[in-house]
């Protein structure tokens, strides 16, 4: 699976992740934790969301390794065990996806994710993840006050998504619901690449969260952000600096295009497809400086070629 494209500004950044021949898929390690609900309603909601996420991840690919902690299993020690296990197995080319669903707290200095028994701090989570050799990591903390964890969790090569922009947003969040929904809704695959990237899931969940507060006529008490360059300045949408890593992390695959990549009979066609896709990216990058008619003509030609190649691949 090659990297996704996400608009002209990100094209050049993407190439860092998609240079040369299509890379074969590495494994992805998913750790999903449903923290302490405190009340039956939250307990139920967190567990259900975590199980839905696990189901989606498990069905995504043969090389998906999932670890799920819910209910009484969601303790700091079991959480650390899971992270240790992954640290022992994951290779640098494997991806790590950590999804935290539950309540969090932030006292102005330290973020804690609420678990059964002692809570775990943001610092502890970061330290455990640092031991995992995966070069590309994604931590999605959907808890209340999770914005307070960004600074301690971030580092180069790790994308951090939080459901709140700051530790001061302390109300229970709905972002997790829509993050998991992104894994189940084909509409989240906005570039129709048959996979859901971290950025696609983020955009989907953020928009749905905003719509939720609108429809409920409530003032939004959560504003999701991400940081994927370790800058300490999380953002609410991708820009020229942020978004490339998050876009390159494939959360979920919706079909078996891996097999196509590895089929020698179709390798040439796939290379041609790759070439056309890169030309389209390049053309889009030049759009602003081109005559609209000329742009349309060239884009149409490339898209027609690409469509024909895809037809061949699908035969």
């Amino acid at each position: 699976m090659r990297a996704h494209r996400r608009g002209a500004l990100l094209v050049l950044l993407f190439t860092l992740w998609s240079v040369g021949v299509p890379r074969t898929f590495a494994a992805t390690y998913y750790i999903i934790v449903a923290g302490l609900g405190g009340e039956p309603e939250y307990e139920q909601r967190f567990t259900a969301s975590a199980k839905d996420a696990e189901k989606a991840f498990k069905g995504s690919a043969d090389n998906a390794h999932t670890y799920l902690l819910t209910g009484n299993d969601a303790t700091a020690s079991r959480f650390k065990d899971a992270l240790n296990t992954v640290a022992q197995s994951a290779k640098p080319e494997d991806d790590l996806v950590l999804l935290l669903i539950g309540h969090g707290s932030f006292d102005g200095a330290e973020y804690k994710f609420n678990l059964v028994g002692p809570d775990i701090t943001g610092g502890e989570i970061a330290e455990m993840c640092n031991r995992i050799s995966s070069r590309r990591q994604l931590i999605v903390d959907t808890s209340s006050a999770s914005g307070g964890a960004v600074q301690v969790l971030e580092r180069p090569g790790r994308a951090v998504v939080t459901s709140t922009k700051a530790g001061s947003e302390k109300n229970a969040t709905v972002f997790a619901r829509y993050w998991v929904q992104a894994l189940q809704d084909p509409d989240a695959d906005t570039d129709k690449s048959n996979s859901i990237s971290g950025l696609e899931a983020f955009i989907y969940a953020s928009k749905k969260t905003v719509a939720f507060y609108d429809s409920q006529k409530r003032l939004a008490t959560e504003h999701a952000v991400f940081d994927d360059i370790g800058s300490g300045q999380p953002v609410r949408e991708a820009d020229g600096r942020q978004g490339a890593l998050l876009a390159s992390i494939t959360l979920l695959r919706l079909d078996n295009n891996q097999r196509v990549v590895n089929d020698p009979a179709k390798r040439a066609l796939f290379t041609k497809k790759e070439d056309l896709e890169q030309k389209i990216d390049s053309l889009k990058y030049q759009k602003a400086a081109m005559d609209p008619g000329d742009y349309k003509k060239k884009l149409t030609a490339l898209l027609l070629d690409l469509a024909k190649v895809q037809q061949e691949l699908d035969r």
Partner: protein
């Protein structure tokens, strides 16, 4: 200018000064500006701070005047009149809050201070808070011989369209002071409103002071309140022609021009006013609004000029253009006329921008406002979902455009407002005016006004909800007339108003009743419709509280058992926490889709506007195969909250596509694209398919290219692109 207050100020302060404030102000009032300035200049040299303040005030050195008044009142035994004068200065310099504080402080020291009551009345009158008459009554009881009090009473009476009282009070003022220029201006305004020449009064004014711009501005103000926007602009022009440095006049002219859609000249006038230190909220906010017009886009055709914020133009334009087109078609026939010029519709997503458009107008501005052929209204995005129906608002405002045009603006507020609300219900029964709790309370407590005094409920409400109640009553009167005499009678009444008949004459001649009998019959009609709900209102309040508690406690069977009886007490209540909502939630919790659908359908029919509840109804209708019902329900939601909801447009687009209504499905998919959906490529693809099905091949290709530009590997879109590029079959 409160000369009496100034006179009393002088009794205590004039001894050391060669000039006295009252003389200086009198010189200015009579147009002797050079002498007045010399006089004011002299005052600034006086030993007394309050007199110096008057001098600086007259020279328009506001900060110095302010500072001198501050010094004048620092002593605990300073004259209360100083505070009153300072309060008037602050009022003139746009600080009503502190002005009112000063008037009250003066009254605390001297409860019989007439000037303080007059000051309070001036502030109240300007803000239309309904208390001006009270304060003037107090002032009159303390001193009936004060010309200024009668001038203000004349002014308030004319704002209430009580022309006879206005003229009578103006006469009293003139009898007390033969140079009561503002009273003469009221007389001139009455003449103009009655379509007579104001020349006699204008000549009297100019004989005293040919440069008294204030008189023309007062006339213009009353013309504005009588829907005569164009005439008002004419008189604001006369005001600044008579007195070129009359900056408040320049500002008012600017605002008037804005209302007429003449933005360029409006900007010049407002900037002139602003740069000469007249910077009240209306001037500043209007300039800000004009500046923000760069963020708007205007679409013109033969019938309409539509102005929308760029960010939502793609989404709203098709809906608004279609709706205005439909309205023009219906109203052209109904009112048997065509508008002489294209109607101008402005839609504001920021309610504050819209509020600026209505500034200084009483009883207006809730949702939309009409100035001649210009309609300004909130965008649905300016309001909370469910609070606002833009379609109903547009039909309402467009009715004003026709009625004002047909009557050449000679129509009382109650009639044009009542007819406009009546038209909402004519367009769609669900949009008909509902009796809110405030209305039921007013009916129960017999607070409806006689028809001859109904305008007062709009302009000077005596209780907080009276404007809402007056809208309801006015529309009820139109409904009553239709039911008793037929819809055609309303058109006859429009023509009678156009012929300058009064409400009394219209009711007597067109309806054949005297106003008292009309009121009696109307109240009988209202009682038949709402008597039960009004008399059981308290019981309903108690019962719905119990029902809400049962709902909160998940006593589902209790809600289902008792809900219908509570609903029967007040079926028109569709607001938050309605019985419809409680029952729907209960049926949903019990997975009783059939009952949930029925109660939601009843809610929809009764005019319920919560988009969430209506969308749920559409889902239930769809799931039971009632595609047409689902389409109609989603169309209703489109009139309520078409913004920030790409799913709504997609769902409706899909249903319409399924029904082979391709043109309308295109409109919905276009709206979905403009709503910035998560899956933009997917929506563009659906739009492409709809275009193709509707026979718009070129647009289909544009849309499929847009889809593939976002997602080049989108296989279904690729297939459609190939299909579009297949050579035609021979």
């Amino acid at each position: 200018m409160m000369l009496s207050a100034i006179a009393s100020l002088l009794i205590t302060t004039a001894t050391a000064a060669a000039a006295v404030p009252a003389d200086c102000w009198q010189m200015r009032k009579r147009g002797h500006e050079t002498e007045a300035r010399r006089c004011f200049n002299q005052l600034t040299q006086a030993g007394d701070e309050a007199v110096r303040a008057e001098g600086f005030w007259g020279l328009e050195q506001w900060d110095n005047a302010n500072e001198q008044f501050r010094l004048a009142i620092r002593s605990a035994d300073s004259e209360p009149t100083y505070k009153v004068r300072w309060g008037i200065l602050l009022h003139e310099r746009f600080n009503d809050r502190e002005a009112v504080d000063l008037f009250r402080e003066a009254l605390a020291k001297d409860p019989s201070n007439v000037d303080a009551y007059v000051g309070l009345a001036i502030v109240s009158s300007d803000s239309f808070d309904g208390r001006a008459s009270f304060y003037l009554g107090k002032a009159l009881s303390l001193d009936p011989q004060r010309a200024e009090t009668h001038e203000l009473l004349a002014n308030v009476a004319l704002e209430n369209d009580d022309r006879e009282l206005a003229a009578a009070e103006a006469d009293k003022a003139i009898a007390l002071e033969n140079d009561a220029l503002d009273a003469m201006a009221v007389h001139a305004a009455v003449e103009l409103i009655n379509e007579r020449s104001p020349d006699v009064w204008i000549n009297k004014i100019t004989a005293i002071n040919p440069h008294y711009g204030e008189a023309y501005a007062r006339i213009a103000h009353h013309l504005e309140l009588h829907y005569r926007q164009q005439d008002a602009v004419t008189y604001y022009r006369k005001a600044i022609e008579a007195e070129p440095n009359f900056w408040v006049g320049h500002s008012a002219l600017g605002i008037g021009l804005m209302r007429m859609g003449q933005q360029e000249e409006a900007q010049k006038e407002l900037e002139l006013s602003y740069s000469n230190s007249y910077r009240d909220a209306a001037t500043v906010n209007s300039l800000r609004l004009l500046d923000s017009y760069k963020n708007y886009v205007t679409f013109r055709d033969d019938a309409m000029v539509l102005t929308l914020r760029k960010t939502e133009a793609d989404l709203l334009r098709p809906y608004l253009q279609d709706e205005v087109g439909a309205i023009l078609s219906v109203y052209n026939q109904k009112y048997a006329m065509k508008l002489p010029r294209p109607v101008q519709v402005e839609v504001y997503p920021d309610h504050e921008d819209f509020a600026v458009r209505t500034m200084g107008m009483p009883g207006l501005g809730a949702l939309g406002v009409t100035f001649g052929e210009v309609v300004a209204m909130d965008s649905p995005s300016a309001r909370r979902p469910g609070d606002f129906n833009w379609g109903a608002t547009l039909w309402h405002e467009m009715s004003h455009v026709y009625v004002l045009t047909a009557t050449k603006n000679h129509v009382p507020r109650w009639f044009t407002e009542g007819l406009a609300v009546h038209e909402e219900g004519e367009r769609s029964p669900e949009w008909a005016n509902r009796a809110t709790p405030d209305v039921l309370i007013a009916i129960r407590d017999k607070k409806l006004l006689p028809v001859l005094r109904l305008d007062r409920g709009f302009v000077y409400p005596e209780y907080p909800s009276q404007v809402v109640v007056s809208y309801f009553q006015a529309s009820g009167i139109c409904d009553f007339i239709k039911s008793r005499w037929g819809e055609g009678k309303l058109l006859e009444m429009i023509h009678s108003y156009a012929n300058l008949q009064t409400t009394q004459q219209v009711i007597e001649h067109d309806l054949g009743l005297n106003p008292e009998e009309f009121d009696r019959q109307f109240l009988i009609w209202i009682d038949k419709k709402y008597g039960f709900e009004a008399s059981h209102f308290n019981e309903w309040q108690e019962q719905i509280k119990l029902l809400a508690t049962a709902s909160r406690d998940k006593q589902l069977d209790v809600v289902i058992r008792q809900g219908p009886a509570v609903l029967a007490l007040y079926p028109e209540y569709v607001g938050e926490g309605s019985v419809y909502q409680l029952l729907a939630e209960t049926f949903r919790a019990k997975a009783d889709n059939k009952s949930e659908k029925e109660i939601l359908a009843a809610y929809e029919k009764m005019g319920g506007q919560d988009p969430g509840m209506l969308k749920r109804l559409a889902t239930l209708e769809d799931s039971t195969g009632d595609k047409t019902g689902s389409i109609e329900t989603l169309k209703r939601v489109n009139y309520i909250y078409p913004v920030k909801d790409s799913d709504l447009h997609l769902e409706l687009g899909d249903l319409l596509y399924e029904k082979k209504d391709y043109d309308h499905s295109v409109r919905e998919y276009v709206a979905a694209v403009a709503s910035n959906p998560v899956d933009k490529a997917g929506v563009e693809f659906r739009l492409a398919k709809a275009y193709l099905a509707a026979g718009h091949r070129s647009e289909a290709e544009d849309s499929v290219l847009a889809a593939l530009e976002i997602a080049p590997g989108y296989v279904p879109a690729q297939k459609l692109l190939l299909e579009l590029h297949q050579p035609p079959e021979k």
